[in-house]
Amino acid sequence: MGKNFKSLVIGFVLLSLMLFPFFGERFYIQFASKILVMIIFVSSLNLLVGFTGLVSLGHAAFFGFAGYVLAILMQVDSSTHFVTALLISISCVGLLGLVFGVLVLRTKGIFFIMSTLALGEMLFYFLHDTDFAGGSDGIYIYSRPNLSIFDFWDVDLANAVHFYYVALVFVCLTLIFIGRIIQSPFGRVISGIRVNEHRTKALGYNTYKFKLVCFVIASMIAAVSGFLAAVQFGVVNPEMVGWHVSGHALMMVILGGKGAILGPVLGTTTLMITEEIFQMLTKHWQLLTGLVIVLVALFFPNGLAGIRIFKKGGSM
């Protein structure tokens, strides 16, 4: 696939996404926003799984925690500006990511998977079993953070169309940001860690530090997504932190082809639309989702990107 052709496809997709709210119904706009928010989360997980080779099953902790920070912030001061709230939320999650990262990065492979899952679930049980943050019901966010740009352009985040564009902007920023990371010297080191950590270490890199920085960055990107999800739904609950969110995101990473910047876009969109169709078909739609996950993991371990028509030389 030529470079020009690829740019053309991306441009076309972007244009149709921008025009979409003029034609789509409200339900579809909201659904599309949901996908956009999820793409940010899956991209952040892809940074760990696909680019650094760290399989985390506790990534939802950062997603949900960001939402909780926003919810608590809005309870304290409902007039908080969007940017302030977002920055506070990202910082808090980054701190949590640092604490989790210091612990789990001492382990490797299967131990890493288990300890990320355990720490993520610790947060789940903490939020679920204590009254600290609304218990199992979670917290409602009655007023969205205000997003006025230079006092003349008022964005109403409760409005589906407005939110859609905000989410779209953040998706683009995330993908560009991750692309930049990957192409930076830092990105070269983390892919070195994925391919062969011992050699990277032998070259003189402190791989632990690189992994830690990468883990914290990924947690902060996940925070953006969790923050937006909380803004969209106006509610946070412990399920946002639960490992099913992480498991699904992992599936989306694989489906889109791990280690490709645009992979999460493909994987997230495909799985979410498929699940939506399953939900229309039957009450027990998780059975079908489970089957799809098993079959894809067994027979298409490289995801959709591994299938002929999407085949490409290196990473996109």
Binding site: F111, M114, A118, Y125, T130, I293
Partner: protein
């Protein structure tokens, strides 16, 4: 807390720990020997409990139900290995996680279709329904004692089975070098299938025998899975001895965490917060001994 309450809580903690050992040991066996991370392990525990509820109700007898349940679990394990797991031996952990994650969703929905989403309780068998009177108003149920005893017997059987029998030798040989074992004429595929089925049966059996003292509910698998992961991380992967020590530690800490009203610097640590104590223990282990207490390192 007086001595007798302390004693009862310690017994409860040990009993919980022994039960955790049964679940965690299946997990650590399947990883240690076959190199497969099985996150669907908690589902088998849940399936076991539901099997106990329906089979024991059906046969009207605890023991027949238990026996039938273990048979079903064994066949389930064999079938699952043949259908899915055998393709995972040479794959990376990510694919193993995904396949077994898919299995969790499938089992959770199958449970919902077959048994519904209600919470059930299983009666304690008549033979074990009494309790031992410790003081005038404190007693310890015989069923819990029996449960601890069964777990200890299984632990010993497993140790002897793996260390001192021909089959155990094949299993250990398969663990250290799969191809070489195959070259010696041992059907390693069959050995693996047996080990996986054994792991599934252990998890299901734990679910079955714990059903009479805990209720049978949809989310029970997840809960036990997380705690057994904590056990395995603390004890060290692939180590049965480690699983035993860690399971007892976790069982005791969790039980005492829930009954003690700890007062730290004037802040009353709520019993719910005490649920975090096992994770705190895990965090400490990760800080100082990331390969687990009995782990051999990476």
């Amino acid at each position: 807390m007086d001595a007798i309450t302390f004693f009862i809580q310690a017994m409860n903690g040990i009993q919980y720990g022994l039960l955790l050992f049964l679940v965690a040991t299946g997990l650590t066996l399947i990883f240690g020997i076959m190199g497969v991370i099985n996150i669907a392990h908690g589902s088998f525990y849940m399936v076991g409990a539901y099997l106990a509820w329906s089979l024991m109700g059906w046969f009207g007898n605890f023991w027949v139900g238990l026996f039938a349940g273990v048979l079903v679990a064994l066949f389930l394990g064999l079938a699952l290995e043949w259908l899915f797991i055998r393709f995972l031996y040479d794959r990376d952990h990510l694919q193993q996680v995904l396949v077994t994650y898919g299995l969790i969703l499938i089992f959770s929905e199958l449970r919902s279709i077959l048994w519904g989403d209600d919470v059930h309780s299983v009666p304690i068998p008549e033979l074990l329904s009494g309790s031992i009177q410790l003081t005038e108003n404190l007693a310890y149920p015989i069923y819990r004692l029996w449960l601890s005893g069964v777990c200890i017997v299984i632990a010993i059987l497993m140790y002897v089975g793996i260390q001192h029998t021909r089959l155990g030798m094949m299993i250990r040989a398969g663990e250290s070098d799969r191809d070489m074992t195959k070259a010696l004429g041992i059907n390693i595929g069959l050995v693996y299938r047996f080990v996986f089925a054994l792991g599934v049966s252990l998890a299901a059996f734990s679910g079955m025998i714990s059903a009479p003292i805990a209720s049978v509910f949809p989310g029970m698998g997840n809960q036990v899975l997380i705690v057994s992961f904590v056990v395995v991380v603390i004890g060290g992967l692939g180590s049965i001895k480690g699983a035993m020590v860690a399971a007892l530690m976790v069982g005791l800490i969790d039980t005492f965490g829930k009954v003690l009203n700890v007062n730290i610097l004037g802040i009353n640590i709520l019993p719910e917060m005490a649920g975090m104590s096992i994770f705190a223990l895990m965090a400490i282990i990760l800080m100082f001994r990331p390969q687990g207490i009995f782990g051999k390192g990476h």
